[in-house]
């Protein structure tokens, strides 16, 4: 196991190098350098001033020098300086991270708590009204554009019923747990929607597979109750592939956060990304994308290791 993990970590290195080149190349190919935002605003800018500005940001050097500098700095934990605020990218990401993590965490919990029972009951009562309803829900949820679902929730619960705040993380001057909870309900639901649908389908099919196995029949034959067989014997094994899928999804939650945070004015990484996009803040964009990619690669490894840990039939050597 230890050797397997080490080998996988070593394999991550060329992958991460490749990713960094692609991200760097794509950002480099952007037309109009960082001075573009100044020109966009219709300011008259002296060409000499633009050159000085570019030199200060280091974008006047050859591309490969810029790349090597960027990667070198990244290895020592420096993601560069934001064009927009002149502050370290890492600091700005670190400031926004808690809000995004809180949103992702709540969404993850909501999705798990809903998806697992939904999948289990669907499997146990296959072809029942409950199963059909759950299936219909999943199909609709997967076909639902996330941002539209968010808008509809805002319309119903904020505009019409006025139960929940439209946007933000907290009401200024109120800052209580209840207030924060009221703010996070809608964004977390929106972020969780696709995962509730996806994971519950996964749980259902995994459970159906397990329920057909001999050891489950044996457990029944020994006189155990249906509840015990399902909750103890079947659920444990049926959860293994689901846990793996859930682990892989964690990194994907990050992509979803971009849209969710934009709709609900949530001051996290996703919104920072969109703001940096409009400001052509390249170091920031590269930093966030690199972080997102790293999460995907890392959670891939975690998912495999967890799978091997949970499933004794799999041995890594």
């Amino acid at each position: 196991m230890g050797r397997y993990v080490i080998r996988r970590i070593l394999q991550m290195i060329p992958l991460l190098i490749g990713i960094s080149i692609v991200i760097f190349a794509i950002i480099q190919a952007a037309p109009g350098g960082p001075e573009g935002t100044l020109l966009d605003r219709g300011m008259f800018v002296d060409p000499a001033a633009i050159d000085a500005y570019r030199a200060r940001l280091g974008v006047d050097q050859p591309v490969y020098v810029q790349y090597l500098k960027w990667v070198g700095a990244m290895l020592s934990g420096d993601l560069g300086i934001s064009f927009q605020t002149q502050r370290p990218v890492l600091d700005m990401i670190a400031e926004r991270l808690p809000d995004t993590l809180r949103l992702m965490g709540v969404a993850f919990v909501v999705a798990t708590v809903l998806a697992i029972p939904l999948g289990v009951f669907s499997a146990v009562r296959q072809y029942s009204a409950f199963d059909y309803t759950a299936t219909a829900f999943s199909f609709v949820a997967i076909a639902m554009p996330v941002f539209w679902f968010g808008l509809m929730l805002q319309f119903i619960f904020s505009v019409r019923l006025q139960w929940l705040p439209v946007a933000g993380t907290v009401t200024v001057g109120v800052d209580t747990f209840g207030d924060r909870l009221r703010h996070i309900i809608m964004p977390a639901t929106v972020l969780a929607l696709h995962y509730i649908a996806g994971w519950s389908r996964y749980m259902r099919s995994s459970m159906l597979g397990v329920l057909r196995q001999d050891y489950v029949r044996t457990a029944y034959a020994k006189g155990l109750t249906r509840r015990t067989v399902i909750a103890i014997h079947a659920l444990k094994n049926a959860s293994i592939p689901v846990v793996s899928v859930m682990t892989l999804s964690i990194a994907k939650l990050f992509s979803g956060a971009v849209i969710t945070e934009t709709i609900f004015g949530w001051p996290g990484i996703g919104r920072l990304f969109i703001q940096s996009m409009h400001a052509r803040d390249y170091p920031m964009l590269m930093g966030i994308m690199m972080m997102g990619s790293f999460m995907v690669v890392a959670f891939n490894l975690v998912a495999d290791v967890v799978y091997g840990f949970l499933d004794p039939r799999i041995s890594y050597d």
Partner: protein, 300 residues
């Protein structure tokens, strides 16, 4: 094993009873199976009607998509304006049809590009194996690891995207799962004796792949492509919603939603209907994919 025996048994029964065993092509078998999948069939009809209506928008739409009518702004849905009008008095139903034209076209084209690239990469990797396989699959891993939506947002923003650019961007970043599925399927099919036999008979690589392997992985490609259409429609609308897709006045379902966001409280119909259009279209596409999966699976 039992399935195999069953099919042998039915074959024999047909022979014995001397029933007119008309050769049914794979396509006809699939079609008859698909027709029995009620939900998929309904979805296919809905999609067909929707697509025809949207494509024929210039003829069937009651108004021009940019016809401003300041006397009738912000009308609720009524008999004259079926789905109401926006802040410039433009007819929402008309704009939905024109928007659908763009959204559906982008969905179909992007899915086609993605499927084509995915099939090529997957087939090459799976068939040749070894170093080529390794290289292509690492490339796939790489493309898979970069969060797609942020990447498309960046590309969409500075490519000054219009319809064509958006199709290419979505297509170029949606091939990875097809590549993996096709590769896996080919690895499985490659082991079969009939592939060895084809080689022994002197068939070249291209003939073996095109005639013997692709038809057998065809079902996964088609199903993937179908689901890809739905995904691409959602991605297009998300990018347009973020203001990075097709820009107004050309309507797409995504940018209509973006425009409507600010006035959702007073004119909710402008937000509700474009979203419903996306939801219904993608839902039908996915049901159809489900039906195709059953219909095209030769083992069912």
């Amino acid at each position: 094993m039992t399935e195999h025996n069953d099919s042998l048994a039915t074959d024999n029964a047909l022979l014995v009873e001397g029933i007119d065993t008309v050769q049914r092509s794979n396509a006809r078998i699939a079609w008859s199976k698909f027709r029995r999948h009620r939900l998929a069939m309904i979805s296919a009809v809905v999609l067909l009607v929707l697509t025809v209506l949207c494509m024929a928008a210039p003829i069937v739409a009651p108004y021009e998509f940019d016809a401003i009518d300041l006397a009738n702004i912000r009308q609720r849905p009524n008999a004259v304006h079926l789905l109401g009008t926006d802040a410039l008095g433009r007819d929402l139903f008309t704009r939905l049809l024109f928007g659908g034209r763009i959204s559906i076209t982008i969905g179909l084209t992007s899915a086609f590009i993605g499927t084509l690239i995915g099939t090529l990469v997957g087939a090459t990797a799976g068939y040749y194996g070894g170093r080529i396989d390794n290289l292509l699959m690492r490339l796939t891993d790489l493309a898979y690891s970069i969060p797609t939506l942020p990447l498309m947002i960046v590309l969409g923003a500075y490519a000054d995207t219009q319809v064509l650019g958006l199709m290419l961007i979505i297509g170029f970043f949606s091939w990875m799962s097809t590549a993996r599925v096709v590769r896996g399927a080919i690895l499985a099919v490659k082991q079969n004796d009939y592939v060895t036999a084809a080689h022994a008979l002197g068939a070249g690589d291209r003939a073996v792949v095109l005639r013997h392997i692709i038809p057998n992985v065809f079902n996964s490609i088609v199903v993937g492509a179908t689901l890809g259409v739905g995904d691409a429609i959602i991605v297009e609308s998300s990018l347009s919603f973020l203001g990075l897709g097709v820009s107004p006045p050309i309507p797409t379902w995504g940018n209509m939603l973006m425009d409507s966001q600010a006035t959702m409280a007073s004119e909710p119909w402008l937000t509700i209907f474009p979203g419903m259009a996306i939801l219904i279209t993608v839902l039908c596409v996915n049901f159809m994919g489900d039906g195709l999966q059953d219909a095209l699976d030769p083992t069912l």
